[in-house]
Structure formats: structure tokens, C-alpha cells
Symmetry: C2
Subunit: 307 residues, 2 copies
Amino acid sequence: MAHAPLKASDDCKLEILHKHSAFIFDLDGTIWKGTQLIPGASEVLNLLRYQGKRIFFVTNNSTLSRKAFLQKCIGLGLKVNIDEIYNSAYAAAAYLKTKNFQKKVYVIGERGIIEEMHSVGLEAVGGPDDADAKVDYSKGDPYMEVDEEVGAVVVGWDRNINYYKLQYGLTCLLENQDCLFIATNTDARSPLSTNQEWVGGGAMVGALIGASELDPIVVGKPASFLLDVICRTSGLSCSQICVVGDRLDTDILWGNKNGCGTLLVLSGVTSEASMLDSDNKIYPSYFIDSIGDLLSVKEKLSYCTVS
Amino acid sequence: MAHAPLKASDDCKLEILHKHSAFIFDLDGTIWKGTQLIPGASEVLNLLRYQGKRIFFVTNNSTLSRKAFLQKCIGLGLKVNIDEIYNSAYAAAAYLKTKNFQKKVYVIGERGIIEEMHSVGLEAVGGPDDADAKVDYSKGDPYMEVDEEVGAVVVGWDRNINYYKLQYGLTCLLENQDCLFIATNTDARSPLSTNQEWVGGGAMVGALIGASELDPIVVGKPASFLLDVICRTSGLSCSQICVVGDRLDTDILWGNKNGCGTLLVLSGVTSEASMLDSDNKIYPSYFIDSIGDLLSVKEKLSYCTVS
């Protein structure tokens, strides 16, 4: 796209809403910030459901399981079904299932990844259990023994990253035959704080790339994997879907390169200035300040549908 | 170089020794492995000194200071002067001095970096002092306060890497004006074990790249910085120098791209098979099994010099 996008007028919002049968929302920065729902989010979701639209939530956050995200949604008053929630921890588990993977998984990441592996019947080790693990340096030449049954190392955001986990992951990749290197996502920053930039999963993935000199398989946004899953299970095609999110390099890039409509909200990571910066090459179809802005066409939309 | 190098015959060894006025040796894998001197290393160094050659030791290992490396050399029976030792922690300190840097340094790395900063009069924080530092998550929205006087983040191999250090480093880079991002080196693997691949400083650098999306200034091999320092202080030109080391992507690449002679030893990281692998594009001028192999021309060399 050669020119900067337009801030969506009411006509644009109506066009977006009429054109798409389904909407995929990012969570952090789009539906909520930290523990606070973004104003209007619940009403917009209800409006879309009333219009017969399909709704999905796709987040790169791998720290929680789908069940835990569902509980957070419900706790914030949103009416959401677990089949509508996709996160990058689930994506890693779903990816392994598509490969008919049956070995063990070593996790550099948090509980969400472990739980999603269990939910598809895979055995997962590491993760929170290795939060305080230390290398034994008492012998002159340390030696890392790893479980030979580990056939994949899955790396996501990990607030307890340590040298032991990196070494365990590296050893599996180097010594276990055909061991897969899977990144839930490579987001540089995390949604940990609403007023400061905090280290994201891109750091843990970058560390294992730096040590292994291997390229991971990325399953979260902007990789197409989760969009393929949604299309396959819902029967939707990408052109019927509008992706709504707050990040250019994940949400909007993901939607654009797969032929979805894209709507940027300025309520999260991306500011209008950074979108319009001459260095930026990723533009959404339209942008709005926040999800609640879609409510400005509520009356017009009802009228159109009923007429 | 289009073709694979030759294993050095005695004539080649004599050519190498006659042609060069100075020799730069890597340490781990070249002079020693772990706590064991490689057989013949001491005799070769003595022979070179007898021939009037200048000798330097350059290592990417940033965990120790130059003083600590000197002590290790002496402990292993080598006659070495501290001015002959250059490591990547010293390189980071020397680089900052060339920039007339006078602010504080935040260290993601070990004691060697802290000590080298002190030795050039710079204040260094972090490093081993933050080995057990934890983020305070008790407030809903964590906030990382960093010292505004920090003007550089120096990253090297760190066996106590943790989320706090990564976040401190990221915050300095993002919030402190013109904060420098310096990598001592980007070696994927470390010399921690002689019989298994262990995570090197490339992991810590990769983590901060992954979080910041910034490119570091690399001061260790294969960056030319330390070679420039050696040439400037010794009056030597690169063509007078032969680099002897065990790694293609640091030692040999470093020598090749700066116009030095290069001699690979197979006593460390690189095997003959990996050098001859079709994927490898980095060839030394010559290779030998181990530094001790140079002793095969000891008699001939003395004869040549005396005659």
C-alpha cells in the first residue's frame, strides 16, 4: 500500500461492517489493557453478534491457556466461547498435532504453553518447573543431560528465563534427532505494563536463535498458521474476515498478507505518529482510536440490516 | 577464497613463520582447553619469542578481566605480559574510551566486563550484582526505574541471565538518551565444556536484540576494533600479522577480512569436516591439527635465522 490509511469515517465503518462476515480481534491493547476493558468493547462485540457476525480472538500472548483467557474474558463481562479464543500457546500445540507429533516438548515459556500441550495430549517438561533450575558447575566440565524423548523445543515469553533453560533447549536442538524449534511468537515487547515498554517473547526466541544459529518455526502472528486454522474450522475465507488489532508488525501485517481487511486501533502499542512515520511500511485498511468508536454507527447499522 | 586450504606442510609452516612479524593467538581451543594447556603451546610461544616475533592473545571471552587471564596464563606456565592480552570485555571498555564516554555502563555479563570498565575509570552497574534481581510484580503495573546516568548497555556471556537484567537493559536503551548498545561478541557457543556445546554470549545479545529490535555495536572478533587497537599501539600493519585460532566465524573471518594471514588449529571448535563442508565459505590460509605442530620446523627455523 503506497499511501497512509484514512481514519475511518462512519461511512468507512459501515463499509467494514457490511463487507466482512467475521472479525478477529487481538486482545491486549484492543479489547483490554492489563485488567481494564477498553470502553465500548463489550457493546461492540454484542452489536456484531446481533448482526450475525462470527467473532474470534487471536493473541500472541502465550503465558495463559485458552481456558485462562476465557476466564479473563468472562471476568471482564464479555460473552465469549472458548472456541472463539486462539493464542500462540494453543497455536504451538495445534501445529504439533498437524505434524502428528507424539514426542515430548521442552518449554521455555510459562504455564500457558504447558497447559495447551497437555490439552492436546502431549507431554511437556520445563517451563515453570525450571524457573529456579541451575547448572551444576561443581564438576570441571559441566554436562547437560536431556531427555532423549524431547522432539520439540517451544519458546515463548518467559519471565523466568535463565541459563539452564537456554542450555537445555539448545542441547535438545543439537543432540536430539530432528528436534523442532518452535516460537510461539517473536513480539519484541510484552503487554506486562500499560505505561512502559517491557521485554516480550522476542527476547527468549532471540536468545535461542543466538545460541543455536537456527531459525524457528513461528506459529503466532504474523505467521499465517492460526488464520489457516480459523478458516479451515469455520469455512470462512480470508477475504470475509477483518482483523482488528493494535500492532502493525503482528496484527495488521498478518491480516494484510493473508488478504483480510485490517483495522488498526490506536488504544495499544501503535500510535498514529508511528503509523505515519516514514520508516513504517505496514498500513491497515483503516484506523480508529479505539474499538468503542465503532459504536458511532450503531443506529445506522441496525437500520441498514432491518431495511 | 575459492578452494579449500591445505594442511600446512613444513615448508608452509616455515613460510608462515618467516612471512609474519607478529602472531595473534586465540586462547580457548587454541592455547588451552578448559584448564589444560594444549601440548606444545608453551614451547611454540617461546620459539616465536626467540625468533623476535611479537605475540598477542585475543579472546572473545568476556567473563574474566585481562588481569585474570594473565593469572591463568601464568598458572599454566606461560610467559605472558598483560599488554599482550586483549579480550572482548577490554574491547568494550577501550571502545567507550575512544568515544570519550564518561557516563555509567549497565552490564549484562560477568565480572570481567565490570572489572575492565573500572580499569578505564568508568562506573559499571548490574552484572553479577543483578544475578538474583527480580521484578516487583506486586503492583499491578510494574515499572522499571533505571539510572538516568547509564549511557551504554554492554552485553556479553552471562550465566546468570534473567528477565530483570534484560528489562533493565531494554529500558536504558529505550529511555536514556543516546544510550549505546554494545555487544562484547556474538559467539553462539561458549568454552564452558570441552565435550558438549554450551550457550555462548550470542544468546544474551540475541535476547536484547529480540526485545529492542536494535543492532548492537560488536567489539569482539570478527569486528575489526581490536585489530585496529593492536596495530595502532604496536605499529604493525595487518599484513605483518598471522591470526591463529580454532573458529572459522570469529578468528579466521577476522583475520581474512583484515588482510592478515590465518592459520586454523583443529584443537577447538572447528573440525576438518566442518571446514570442508560445502556450506562453509570461510577458509584459513592454512590449517594444522594443533599449535604444537609448529614445533616440527623448530630445527629448520633456528638454522634459517642463524644462517
